[in-house]
Symmetry: C2
Subunit: 337 residues, 2 copies
């Protein structure tokens, strides 16, 4: 079934039918109704591919994320999807699996589809401008989120990770901790570095000693939270608190702590970056830096829509400020000697 048949059936030309379908251009009310009725009757559904090619608008948005399975990105996608739906945009989803090589191939695939816009959260490896050259060259509007590129600033939505790191550390300091360990994110990411910077800033401001051996570089994955926490608990006897820089690693830390039969905060205090809805539901009291993720997804989508409207690369940055939720896991209960 194509537009030509509708034209024949209705007695009008292809263009008139096209105008009805696209709902633009001059068509008399009666004509419109007549054509609409026929479309309804024969269950005609226009070919979006042909429309895209002809109009040079794909009405499609590509979302590129590092890991579909991660509930954080699930929530982001939910927010994006919500806005895209309302704007009749289709959503292509790609996962790079935190792999910069796969990411490169994904970029190529994405451009082939000629989406009207691109949303991208880069993989955890160190990224410079040249790593997204294909996207830049394509001229397609895009917005970054969460993770930043080192040598240039692009339109995007990011979190104030320095503030988050600061708040978490400050909470521990205010509870009386002196010897605070941190399990960071990878130093190849702005997020990893900024949260650490927040930690250092808080320690300095409050006149606490920053000791290199209290800094453990993690990689944002479960195992790294588990292993580093074990190390801390075994080697660093004076440590009374740990600031863990994301939720996956916190889950790993919880496992390590449980295996050692330690209690939070009695034996070890912690603050986590990123709240997890299950913490609350399951009655696990972990103080955490909190971000409204679905809402952020909506922000990201809106920013992209703006870029698409102006077909620009505005380099506009939206910074989302995290907050701290206290649930007593940060308390200092006994001082180790």
């Amino acid at each position: 079934m194509k537009i030509e048949e509708i034209a024949k059936l209705s007695g009008f030309s292809k263009s008139t039918v096209s105008r009805v379908i696209s709902n633009n251009g001059y068509v008399s009310k009666e004509t419109k109704e007549k054509i609409l009725k026929i479309i309804e009757e024969v269950n005609y559904i226009p070919n979006g591919i042909a429309r895209s090619l002809s109009s040079n608008k794909s009405n499609t948005v590509a979302v590129i994320i590092p890991d579909i399975q991660n509930s954080y990105f699930g929530d982001i996608i939910k927010g994006i999807s919500n806005i895209m739906d309302k704007n009749n945009l289709h959503m292509l989803v790609y996962s790079t699996d935190e792999n910069i090589k796969k990411e490169k191939k994904v970029f190529q695939n994405v451009i082939e589809q000629r989406p009207s816009g691109i949303i991208l959260s880069i993989s955890l490896q160190y990224h410079k401008k040249k790593d997204i050259k294909v996207l830049l060259d394509s001229g397609i509007p895009f917005v970054l989120f969460d993770r930043q590129i080192f040598d240039e600033t692009f339109t995007g939505v990011f979190f104030d990770d320095i503030k988050g790191g600061y708040l978490a550390t400050e909470a521990l300091i205010n509870s009386g901790h002196e010897n605070i360990a941190i399990i960071t994110g990878p130093f190849s990411t702005t997020n990893g570095l900024n949260r650490l910077e927040g930690y250092k800033k808080a320690m300095l401001e409050k006149n606490k000693k920053i000791s290199e051996e209290n800094i453990y570089e993690g990689n944002f994955h479960f195992d790294s939270g588990y292993e580093n926490t074990k190390k801390i608990l075994e080697k660093n006897k004076k440590t009374t608190a740990i600031f863990i820089c994301n939720n996956e690693m916190t889950l790993g830390a919880l496992q390590a702590i449980r295996e050692k039969n330690l209690k939070i905060p009695d034996d070890i205090a912690i603050v986590s970056y990123d709240n997890h809805k299950y913490f609350e539901i399951l009655g696990i009291n972990i103080s955490a830096i909190n971000r409204d993720i679905e809402e952020t997804g909506m922000e990201i989508a809106k920013l992209l829509l703006e870029e698409m409207k102006n077909s620009s690369r505005s380099k506009k940055i939206v910074i989302v400020s995290p907050t701290l939720i206290l649930r007593n896991s940060e308390k200092l209960v006994k001082i180790k000697d």
Copy 2:
């Protein structure tokens, strides 16, 4: 940049360049290399939309799910994405938000995009064949998953929910429980009905009395697990165990149980449908019916690829058998009088 420019630069015709890009048809080795080199040099990326229109193959697969945010569907998508990647297929993702009205609109949008295949998990409302008529009429190969249509069988991957319901109930009976409540899924779904059927089957076989007041119709959402559990704990004093028919409702149940300061299994035994990775990690011991979800996602994708290859509607059904993981939450500790 289009194919014509590559043709000019290389001195060959559009057709030859096209053959190189599609890697099909006769092209001499030297010609191919020459053209490939030029494509590389000028960073030419073919227009997938034009290719789709011309070749009548979109290389795109649409995945329609009820709720993107639900980690169950996140895991499924991960599995699907894995297989689609390997087959160079793009993935369009649509969420119907468990809303049959939105679902209808989504179907329309999906067909417009002329995907090469469709993967669909219907929303929780009662579905008959007519509700997916648009898809059927389109002629596009599709596979259903998890949730079935009442009046006809279509190609798909489903779980043996009767067996799952049976295993869960049997575990409780074997632990010595007599008075077992069940919080079911909605009766508008095969899943809800089948899990209940499994429950009844186990009760009958083991000569336990099935009492209507032990059957609570839930809706698979958190609140319904919470509310129904509260009801059970308050009204049904003789109940020593609850079989909760999905993981979201189990989270709700856990909250209700915690609010009443009851212990599992000391005060109330439970078995949950669907394991949750966080149960284990967070040290929450809940016996549960387990399914390998990401693996299932891969099965689904493979089944669709088969359908696409044969461009058929085979009505082939794959049934995935769930298993039971026991973690002591099913134990009978004290008998109520």
